[in-house]
């Protein structure tokens, strides 16, 4: 995809790579036994280890390693022997003034993620590290430099994170959003993270550059503070436009870290390359190398659930539609793909089942619906016993009560309009409008289309809306072509 800048012949390509931090859904922190829990009273989930008190030592959490490997394998990564490294920098919310992370030897390397469109995005690495505490700057509008004082909550210090680094394979803001959405689905499906952007358990930094399509990649800027998918999309768009404008004005893009200001809708310089910290990484001497054996990796593989991409293609195949179909994505997103597959398997019309899933089943308890009953409902609908509107009402009731569609329809008085009754009404309407009927019979496709609306409307009026529009259309066509 390329963006053509107004007034020039240059085709600009936007290149985006994302660094996503996901908090691992472990019971305890990465290096100590404190609870990994969001929203508790500040500084209550702390101990000598996560406070970095003198003399304390980290001990690696096995569950965190298992979850890190789980995501790695879900992203088709190779799990390798890895070591931890210290990333050294001073900040009050970091108790040891270094972060235990992974550097040149991360646990997961070289994988990929397929977007729902089928586009394959490379995963460079997914490494483990500890989270920092959280600072609250009091006064001065919450910014550190103007604040009267700052408070630090170390409950989050030492919470396990996985940093998932994509290759620069994304080509638009939309790509970036789609990638994060899909990654989030995988994190949720695998139980690796609760992946809540609003609670900070999923955080995104974006590397953005632009280049004319016939030139190599441009200088990139890293954008921080992207707290929602909306921010991510807006920030990438803004940043790409900013860089293109600079380049078109003949000015270079400087490599720097930039901050997204959501209210201003713009990015601003946080620090330039020259001001970048030297983190002085070196191997963490308090921990031993991590070398999961093949047997452990095999157990992780065996325990992985079907992943969203796989589930989408399975459902699409069963329904006879493209994997990129919106309803298929929605079904998988809402965890209704097993239900959908079951209903199709029981003989229900796939298109109608997908329609219900997409439009009528965004309700609690939908996943508990019995596939056989859903299939029964759909066949009542295709048999003309229920209109689309009635079917939706019955469906909602089915989800609420677990009841049988026929019984619910009967209780609601929806059974009157049988197929024979509908034929009679259609014939009456045709007889009452001979001129329109003649034009319908003799007209081309366009004329028929207009008049179909007229006749369906008349039938609906006569039946007080109980007729099924699609059945009426079918009947009209059959009568005209008879």
């Amino acid at each position: 995809m390329s963006t053509t800048a107004a007034g020039t012949a240059t085709d600009w390509e936007i290149v985006v790579g994302l660094e996503v931090h996901a908090e691992l859904a472990t019971r305890t922190k990465l290096f100590c036994g404190c609870p990994n829990r969001f929203g508790d009273e500040p500084n209550t989930n702390v101990c000598p280890v996560c406070l970095g008190l003198p003399g304390s030592l980290p001990v690696l959490n096995e569950q965190a390693v298992a979850l890190a490997m789980r995501l790695g394998r879900a992203l088709h990564c190779e799990v390798r022997r890895s070591i931890f490294a210290r990333k050294n920098y001073f900040y009050p919310d970091m108790p040891k003034d270094y972060q235990i992370s992974q550097y040149d030897l991360p646990i997961n390397v070289e994988g990929w993620l397929d977007l729902p469109s089928g586009q394959r995005i490379g995963i460079e690495r997914a490494h483990m590290e500890e989270d920092t505490g959280k600072s609250t700057h009091v006064g001065g509008g919450g910014r550190i430099h103007e604040a009267g004082y700052s408070l630090v909550d170390y409950n989050r210090a030492g919470v396990p994170l996985l940093e998932i680094v994509s290759k620069p394979d994304l080509r638009s803001a939309e790509d970036a959003r789609t990638y994060v959405s899909e990654l989030r689905r995988i994190l949720l499906a695998t139980g690796v993270s609760d992946a809540k952007m609003e609670e900070g358990s999923l955080r995104v930094d974006a590397n953005v550059s632009v280049h004319p399509t016939d030139e190599p990649f441009g200088i990139r800027c890293e954008i921080k503070n992207l707290n929602s998918l909306r921010s991510l999309g807006r920030a990438v768009d803004y940043e790409a436009r900013r860089q293109i404008e600079l380049r078109e004005a003949g000015e270079p893009v400087r490599q720097e870290t930039r901050h997204w200001d959501e209210s201003e809708g713009r990015t601003g310089t946080l620090r330039t390359k020259e001001e970048a910290e030297d983190y002085r990484y070196f191997p963490e001497p308090d921990l031993v190398p991590l070398d999961p054996d093949d047997e452990w990796v095999a157990r992780i593989d065996a325990s992985l659930p079907a992943l969203p991409a796989e589930r989408r293609s399975r459902l699409a195949e069963a329904a006879g539609v493209a994997a990129t179909t919106g309803a298929v994505a929605v079904a998988v997103e809402r965890g209704l793909d097993e239900l959908t597959l079951g209903a199709i398997d029981a003989g229900a019309d796939a298109a109608r089942v997908l329609t219900h899933v997409e439009h009528n089943l965004a309700i609690d308890g939908a996943e508990r619906l019995d596939p056989g009953k859903l299939a029964a409902l759909v066949s009542m609908e295709t048999g003309g016993e229920l209109t689309a509107t009635q079917a939706k009402d019955v469906l909602v009731e089915m989800v609420a009560t677990g009841g049988d569609p026929a019984a619910i329809a009967k209780a609601k008085g929806y059974e009157a309009m049988g197929a024979d009754a509908l034929v009679a009404v259609v014939d009456e309407v045709i007889a009452a409008h001979p001129d329109e009927w003649t034009r319908f019979v003799e007209g081309d496709g366009k004329a028929r289309g207009k008049l179909t609306g007229f006749f369906v409307g008349q039938v609906m009026r006569a039946t007080k809306g109980q007729a099924d529009g699609k059945s009426v259309t079918d009947l009209l066509r059959r009568r005209a072509d008879a």
Binding site: G55, V59, R86, F90, K96, Y98, R280, F282, L287
Partner: protein, 483 residues
């Protein structure tokens, strides 16, 4: 029985109710009271806590319960070992007022064994030094000659044992910080295999080198203390997950048939005093007489240990000491911004040697210098490990002087850090290789001051190490006790 008794004699008397633990404690507290104004081995004497523990030991003895293998034994702790509710200063201003909320693993094990902690001993600030002169609270003096240093950094612990303030002490050894002061104070000091003793609760200097170890007046006493503190600990990921062998059982077995290598490079290193080397040769001859097969051995990379050490240790220290930033505990010097607060706090809180090593280490890890300094030092470390492994194919233990000289006068080397660093040339290789080593007193230098002989062994062979040490001790000339 006076404070001159060995730890094993004292514990036997306490366990058999011949002597009360509180009386043992009182004798030692009296010795401290009488002598520590001059020596300054202790930063803090914890008399009240010690009395409670001693009384509890006596109650257990009276009740017929097992009071533990170190029952009633006064132990001095280097002041970089965390003690719950008791100040732990690392002899630094920056930890002023800090009381750890927890006990180090070794402190817990001492308590379980019935030992009585009598106080926290002085050290070079954050264990960085070889004379205990780099203490924010003033130097410790050598009990054999109070115009001289006790060595360091565990100078307070070594002096406390030598002055008979306590029969046992714990120190920490990163580049020789137990063995060197033990040699200079005429006591036994041992550095275990890396990972044999848990580091949990030892305030880190250089994490890949630090080990806690015992100081005592006899090899048997040191072995008994080692036995209690060693063993796996789930709170230290670098702790070796296997049980500790009984290191006391073979002490009397002698050295007949053992192969002893004398490391030539360490006997010929820069600054080695001839009288010290002569004592080492005498010690080796004694081992030979006792049936050991002795030969010289070359460990070529050993002499590069010093250079590698003074990059690796400061690099790790620069990171380990970053947390002393005034935000959470210890000293804070307020300033308008966080950055200035860091600067002022750390400038006021750290002494010159600590500052120097933080700067050295920060530089060694910097982008563009990492490979040339830290990376190269790690490669030298690998070479030393390889050369030592080759030597241990032919020898059961290696021997060298512990230090180039006997105790030097206070102030003699403070002006020139490099001269001071040379003190560690013989002790550093075992830290870099993670192997155990011990210093045993063996006679005196021309100045009449104690000389230490170092025995080194392969990883996890503490049994042989203590066995050879015991043979050396048995062959040593009678010791001069400090006044």
């Amino acid at each position: 029985m006076t404070t001159a008794a060995t730890a094993l004699d004292i514990v036997a008397a306490v366990r058999s109710a011949d002597r009360r633990a509180v009386d043992v404690l009182d004798d030692h507290l009296a010795a401290i009271e009488a002598g520590d104004n001059e020596i300054h081995a202790f930063n803090l004497v914890t008399a009240a806590e010690a009395r409670r523990v001693a009384e509890a030991v006596d109650r257990r003895v009276a009740a017929g319960e097992d009071p533990g293998p170190l029952a009633g034994l006064p132990v001095a702790l280097k002041d970089n070992l965390c003690t719950a509710g008791i100040p732990t200063t690392c002899s630094s201003r920056i930890l002023e007022g800090w009381r750890p909320p927890y006990d180090a693993t070794v402190v817990e094990r001492l308590a379980d064994a019935g030992a009585v902690v009598v106080g926290k001993t002085n050290l070079d600030e954050f264990a960085m030094g070889s004379s205990t002169e780099n203490s924010a609270f003033g130097p410790t003096r050598n009990p054999h000659d109070t115009t001289r240093v006790p060595g360091g950094s565990s100078g307070g612990s070594a002096a406390a044992v030598a002055a008979r303030f306590a029969p046992l002490a714990l120190g920490s050894d990163t580049g020789g910080s137990i063995r060197q002061p033990a040699a200079l104070c005429g006591v036994v000091g041992m550095k275990p295999t890396y990972g044999a003793v848990s580091r949990y609760g030892l305030v880190a200097f250089a994490s890949s080198l630090d080990q806690i170890g015992p100081l005592a007046r006899t090899v048997a006493d040191a072995a008994a203390l080692y036995q209690v503190i060693a063993g796996p600990d789930p709170r230290d990921a670098t702790s070796i997950p296997q049980p500790t062998p009984d290191v006391s059982a073979a002490l009397a077995d002698g050295v007949a048939g053992l192969r002893v290598g004398v490391v030539t490079e360490l006997c010929e290193a820069e600054g080695m005093q001839p009288d010290v080397v002569a004592r080492v040769r005498q010690a080796v001859a004694a081992l030979e007489q006792a049936g050991a097969k002795v030969d010289d051995v070359s460990v070529p990379a050993a002499v590069y240990g010093l250079s590698a050490y003074y990059l690796i240790a400061p690099a790790e220290a620069s990171s380990n000491l970053a947390r002393y930033d005034g935000v959470r505990y210890g000293l804070r010097v307020d300033a308008p911004t966080t950055g200035e607060m860091y600067d002022r706090t750390r400038t006021a809180g750290f002494g010159a040697e600590v500052e120097r090593r933080i700067m050295l280490g920060t530089y060694a890890l910097s982008a563009g210098y990492y490979d040339a300094f830290y990376g190269k030092a790690q490669r030298v470390r690998t070479l030393i490990i390889r050369d030592l492994a080759a030597a241990y194919e032919r020898f059961d233990v290696l021997v060298s002087p512990t230090t180039p000289s006997t105790a030097f006068p206070l102030g003699a080397k403070t002006a020139d850090p490099l001269t001071m660093y040379l003190n560690d040339v013989c002790t550093i290789p075992s830290n870099l290789s993670g192997q155990p080593a011990i210093s045993v007193p063996f006679g005196a230098g021309d100045d009449g001051l104690p000389v230490g002989v170092q025995v080194m062994a392969p990883a996890l062979d503490e049994v042989t190490l203590f066995r050879v040490a015991a043979a050396l001790e048995a062959a040593a000339p009678p010791r001069e006790e400090p006044a």
